[in-house]
C-alpha cells in the first residue's frame, strides 16, 4: 500500500528553495533514509511532509492524519513524569500502548521520574516512545539516534523494524548508521536547488529576486 508519494517537490527555507525536483514514494513496510551534507535541507523536507510548512512547488500525496513527526525537540515537559508525558500524547492521538512503548524503549525503571531529570539519551528514548503511541503508519524522524548509546540504537532499530513489519513506513534523516535492515537510502545532494527563478513566486525572496 502506498503511504507517501512526492512528485516534483521543491521546499524552501528562509524564502529560498533548498531542494528542487525531488520525487519518491514510500510503501507500507518500507524505510527510507535521507542523507546529505549539513544544510542541504533534510529538516526542511521533513517538516514539509509532516504538514508544518507548505511545499514551494510539486505535490505531496499522503493520507490525512498519517504522519507522526519527531524532531530535535521532543515535546517533553520537564515537570511531568515520563509516564505522564507519554500518556498525554497517547490520549491526544487517541492511541494506546503507552506501557508497551515504555517497555520497548527500556524506560520502565524511569517511569515516575520527572522528565527534566533525564539524561540526553534518556530524553531521546522518551521522544521515540512517543512515536509508538501515536498509532500512525508513517514515521517521519529527524536524526532519531542523536545521543543514543549503542544498546539504545539497536533497540531503536528493532522498534522501527517491528513498525515496518506491522505495515508502517519510516522516513528518516540522519548522518550516522541506523542499522535498520533493508532500508533504502536517498542522497539529497543531486536535488540541491539551482537558484533559477521559479515561474510563480512563492515568497518575498522569490518575488523580488
Amino acid at each position: 500500500m502506498r503511504l507517501l508519494a512526492a512528485e516534483g517537490l521543491a521546499v524552501s527555507r528562509g524564502g529560498l528553495r533548498v531542494i528542487e525536483g525531488l520525487g519518491f514514494t514510500l510503501d507500507a513496510g518500507e524505510a527510507l533514509v535521507l542523507r546529505g551534507p549539513n544544510g542541504i535541507g533534510k529538516t526542511t523536507l521533513l517538516r514539509c511532509i509532516a504538514g508544518l510548512q507548505p511545499p514551494a512547488a510539486g505535490s505531496i500525496v499522503l493520507a490525512e492524519d498519517a504522519v507522526a513527526y519527531a524532531a530535535h525537540a521532543d515535546g517533553i515537559k520537564p515537570a511531568l513524569s515520563v509516564a505522564e508525558n507519554l500518556a498525554f500524547w497517547a490520549r491526544v492521538f487517541g492511541g494506546t500502548g503507552a506501557a508497551a512503548a515504555l517497555r520497548a524503549m527500556d524506560l520502565e525503571a524511569l517511569a515516575d521520574r520527572p522528565a527534566g531529570a533525564l539524561s540526553a539519551g534518556q530524553k531521546r528514548r522518551l521522544g521515540l516512545a512517543r512515536l509508538m503511541v501515536t498509532g500512525r503508519p508513517l514515521w517521519v524522524l529527524d536524526e532519531p539516534t542523536v545521543s543514543l548509546d549503542a544498546a539504545s540504537t539497536l533497540r531503536f532499530a528493532e522498534v522501527v523494524r517491528a513498525h515496518l513489519d506491522g505495515g508502517g513506513a519510516a522516513l528518516m534523516a540522519t548522518h550516522i548508521e541506523l542499522g535498520i535492515a533493508g532500508a533504502r537510502a536517498l542522497d539529497l545532494t543531486p536535488y540541491r536547488a539551482s537558484g533559477a527563478a521559479p515561474a510563480r513566486p512563492h515568497s518575498f525572496n522569490e518575488a523580488f529576486a
Binding site: 504538514g51 508544518l52 513527526y69 515535546g75 517533553i76 515537570a79 505522564e84
Partner: protein, 218 residues
C-alpha cells in the same frame, strides 16, 4: 481536547508552573499602589475600581507568554499541530486553561484586594460580576497576542504592546460596571456591552489566533 486541558492545568499546578502567581502579582500591585499614592482613603476610594481592573489585566498579561511559548520551545506545538485536534480547538482550550489558572483565582481573591484599596462595599458584587464576565475575553485576546509573537525570542514585552490596546474596550466597560455599581447607578448597559465583547472574542479570536500560529510554525 480534554487531555490537553488536563495537561495544561497540571503543568500550571506543578512546581514552577506559576499557578497562583497571578494572584500574588495582583496582591502586590494592590499593595504597591497605596505606597505610591499615599495611604489617604479619600484619594484611594475613587480610584479603587479602576486600579483593581488594571491590576487584573496586568496579572493576566504577565502570564500570557505561558500559553504558547513553552510549547513552542520544546516542540510540543509542532506535534499538536500535526495531531488529530483542530488547531482552533487547541487554541481555545489553552486560553481556557489560562483563564482557569489566572482569571478564576483572581476573581476569587478580588474581594480581599478590594478591601486593601478601600473599595466601597456596595461595589464588591459588581466587581466580581464584571471580572467574571470580562476576564474570559482577556484570556482569549491574550492567546491571540501570544500566537502572534510565539516565534520571537522573549516576545513578552512586544506582546504586551500588541495586546493592551485590544484590552481597552473590556477594561473600560469592566471598570465602568464596577464604578457605576459603587455609586448605585444602573450598571446593566456596560455589563451588556462587556458580555458582548467577551462572546464575540470567544467566537472569533480562536480562528485568528490559530492562523497566526500556523504562520509561526512554518
Amino acid at each position: 481536547m480534554l487531555a490537553l486541558l488536563i495537561r495544561d492545568l497540571r503543568l500550571a499546578v506543578r512546581a514552577g508552573g506559576g499557578f497562583g502567581l497571578g494572584v500574588a502579582f495582583f496582591l502586590i500591585l494592590s499593595a504597591l499602589v497605596p505606597f505610591g499614592v499615599g495611604p489617604d482613603r479619600a484619594a484611594l476610594a475613587p480610584v479603587a475600581p479602576g486600579i483593581l481592573w488594571v491590576g487584573a489585566l496586568l496579572a493576566c498579561l504577565l502570564s500570557l507568554d505561558r500559553i504558547f511559548a513553552l510549547d513552542h520551545e520544546d516542540g510540543s506545538l509542532d506535534l499538536l499541530a500535526t495531531a488529530p485536534l483542530p488547531l482552533e480547538g487547541a487554541v481555545a482550550v489553552k486560553a481556557l486553561a489560562h483563564w482557569i489558572t489566572t482569571g478564576l483565582p483572581l476573581i476569587l481573591a478580588a474581594p480581599l484586594f478590594g478591601v486593601l484599596l478601600q473599595l466601597p462595599p456596595a461595589a464588591m458584587p459588581w466587581l466580581i460580576v464584571s471580572l467574571l464576565v470580562g476576564t474570559p475575553a482577556l484570556s482569549m485576546l491574550g492567546a491571540f497576542g501570544a500566537a502572534l509573537t510565539v516565534g520571537l525570542r522573549r516576545g513578552g514585552l512586544l506582546m504586551s504592546l500588541l495586546v493592551l490596546p485590544l484590552y481597552i474596550p473590556t477594561l473600560i466597560f469592566g471598570a465602568e460596571v464596577t464604578r457605576r455599581g459603587a455609586e448605585g447607578l444602573g450598571a446593566a448597559t456596560p455589563l451588556v456591552f462587556l458580555a458582548g465583547i467577551t462572546l464575540g472574542a470567544l467566537a472569533l479570536i480562536p480562528f485568528a489566533a490559530s492562523a497566526a500560529l500556523r504562520v509561526n510554525l512554518r
